[in-house]
């Protein structure tokens, strides 16, 4: 085995190991494959919604707050 293959294998192991831990933590370890797909999809939807919410509302709001200089003018 070349060193490249070895590191690839290690990476694979790393990912499969932590995927297993993820399944353990979410009880996905003991459900049927199609059920896993459903729950992963649900998780993905929730995650993406949060992502969108954070980028569209929270981050833009914060940046608007930071860029605005109205309060500075008020003080002056």
């Amino acid at each position: 085995m070349t060193t490249v293959e070895k590191t690839q294998k290690k990476k694979q192991n790393f990912f499969s190991y932590w995927y297993m831990r993820y399944e353990m933590a979410t009880e996905m370890y003991m459900v049927e494959p199609w059920e896993k797909v459903v729950v992963h999809a649900l998780f993905a939807v929730v995650f993406l919604l949060f992502w969108y919410f954070n980028s569209a509302i929270v981050i833009s709001g914060i940046s608007r707050l930071r860029n605005t200089s109205t309060h500075v003018e008020e003080i002056l």
């Binding site: 831990r21 353990m24 979410t26 003991m30 459900v31 729950v39």
Partner: protein, 545 residues
């Protein structure tokens, strides 16, 4: 005991005497009760008052118990972090949701009854749902078929499922595993020498007597067993039954009735709970092994004053928590307040105490101070059945009023012979060596687990060792991996435990060698590393030699 006697400035001698003589197996020695400083400490007023009016003076009269001289250790119940609990509950919620979706989309692969319109449902719908869509997924970890005697090693029949545990098929392979799942505390399996005695009993009396004890079912073996049991426990008399579960469920109704109050530990076994319900006694539940909570309930009940009897119902060693009852403290409380005590020693008899006499022996309590000693022969003695032991009056009353003596089938003679043999074997040097071996195994195993950083529940001396894994997936993962490494253990989850407290239960035995335990611990170490079961947030103990 000694500490109690020393500071027992017994002022109210005359007042308590009648109560205590009646309630403590008629042994006047028990008069020396705890620290009683008040003249009127409630005994006088607690006689049944018909109109239920409670004078406030009575409530003040019961002085609080001084717990300082007693070991009131509940056992170790390390709390897990909030995150663990939240994740476990979330996981369960997701499981149930998936079960619901599953049920909507597919017909469950179970037998269904037809033409049941208009009938009440046979099963509780939630229980049915739970067992089909949560329990089924881990069903391969439970009720695993075996095909050998449950000694230190055991042979499992491998089975597989092609439809996600709706049905199983044997593969034909057999797995030889180290057995950490049987309540074989002393390792007294038949090959150790009981066979001749048991065979002789079969030849002489047959396999079964074909009748209850009260009719034609009594043989000389039964008398001998009852006498030996009473001697073994150090009390006046004993009565034996063919089944441990029924010993509780059928004896409690014979002892209690409406108008009696039972103070029951929250983790009591199903047989005790069923027995109390059948007895139609009022049941109040106290926090597991918490003597202060028990005291609060007991003194309130005493103050209420209208109970015919108040009885504390506890176990010696709790099989799901691995904890040991603080017996000395409870006995002191019982004496102080004039209560009765029912002690189920199913898991402790033979397994606890320097002489294997159970928790009385372990906590230095005289067996006469416990009103009803109950135990089973299924665990340490490697047989079947149960006993109740205590004063002769109690046992005679049970023969007349308990339902098991007159209606249940007598204990089979070969079983009686096995129990007799085991009880006698326990008192030989070899037997005592087994008791010591169990204690050493327990200490070693629990110590090593603590070093590993996992959460274990209970008392350091209890041979039942629950290892907390919290979620079903981890329980299943652990059991599967341990089986693959040749270790057979039992996983336990809801409904036998609280929802988010699934655990692996190791039952130690005197038959396990140090090498076997080390093999088990090595396998466990791998699994703990792999699944991340190091939940303990305590500093690890000092390394064991």
């Amino acid at each position: 005991m000694a500490a109690m006697v020393e500071n027992g400035s017994v002022v109210d001698f005359k007042i308590t005497s009648k109560n205590n003589v009646r309630e403590c197996n008629g042994k006047p020695v028990n008069l020396l009760n705890g620290k009683v400083n008040h003249e009127n400490n409630g005994y006088v007023k607690s006689a049944p008052s018909k109109n239920g009016v409670i004078k406030p003076k009575v409530q003040q009269g019961i002085s609080p118990m001084d717990w300082a001289p007693f070991d009131t250790n509940r056992g170790s119940f390390e709390q897990c972090s909030l995150l663990t609990t939240a994740l476990t509950l979330l996981g369960l919620y997701v499981l149930m949701f998936l079960g619901f979706v599953n049920q909507l989309l597919f017909r469950p692969k179970v037998a269904t009854e037809k033409n049941r319109e208009g009938y009440a449902p046979l099963y509780n719908p939630f229980e049915q749902f739970y067992s089909r869509y949560v329990y089924r997924r881990v069903a391969h970890c439970f009720n695993r078929p075996i095909c050998s005697a449950p000694a230190a090693e055991i042979t499992l029949l491998e089975r597989e499922s092609k439809d996600y545990n709706w049905s199983f098929r044997f593969t034909g392979r057999k797995l030889r595993c180290l057995n950490l799942g049987s309540y074989n505390y002393l390792g007294l399996s038949p090959e150790l020498g009981s066979a001749p005695a048991v065979a002789a009993a079969v030849r002489r009396y047959g396999l079964a007597t074909g009748s209850p004890r009260a009719e034609l079912g009594t043989t000389r073996l039964h008398h001998e067993l009852e006498e030996t049991t009473a001697q073994f426990l150090g009390v006046e008399a004993a009565i034996v039954f063919g089944m441990g579960f029924a010993t509780n469920t059928l004896s409690l109704p014979g002892l209690l009735g409406p108008g009696t109050l039972a103070l029951s530990d929250e983790n009591n076994h199903a047989s005790l709970i069923l027995g109390l319900r059948l007895a139609r006694a009022t049941v109040r539940v106290f926090r597991h092994n918490d003597v202060r909570d028990l005291e609060r309930l007991a003194s309130r009940a005493r103050a209420e004053g209208h109970w015919r009897k108040i009885i504390i119902v506890i176990e010696g060693v709790y099989s799901m928590e691995g904890s040991v009852a603080p017996l000395a403290a409870i006995v002191a409380l019982k004496k102080k307040l004039g209560l009765y005590l029912y002690l189920d020693e199913a898991h402790s008899i033979g397994a606890m105490g320097p002489r294997g006499r159970g928790v009385c022996d372990y906590s230095g309590v005289r067996p006469q101070d416990v009103d009803v000693l109950m135990g089973t022969f299924t665990k340490s003695f490697g047989a079947a059945g149960g006993y109740v032991a205590g004063s002769a009056a109690l046992i005679n009353s049970l023969r007349a009023h308990g339902h098991a003596h007159s209606y249940a089938h007598a204990m089979a003679p070969p079983v009686a012979a096995q129990v007799l043999w085991a009880m006698r074997a326990l008192d030989t040097p070899l037997g005592q060596q087994r008791v010591r071996a169990l204690r050493e195994n327990t200490r070693y195993f629990r110590g090593r687990l603590q070093q590993m950083g996992v959460v274990t529940y209970g008392h350091p001396e209890s041979p039942v060792v629950p290892l907390l894994v919290y979620s079903f997936s981890k329980m299943m993962g652990t059991v599967e991996r341990l089986t693959a490494r040749g270790i057979a253990t039992v996983g336990v989850g809801f409904p036998a435990t609280p929802l988010s407290k699934a655990r692996i239960r190791f039952c130690l035995s005197a038959a396990h060698t140090r090498a076997q335990l080390d093999a088990c611990l090595a396998a466990l170490q791998d699994v703990v590393d792999e699944l991340g079961l190091r939940y303990s947030r305590r500093a690890p103990a000092q390394p064991l030699r």
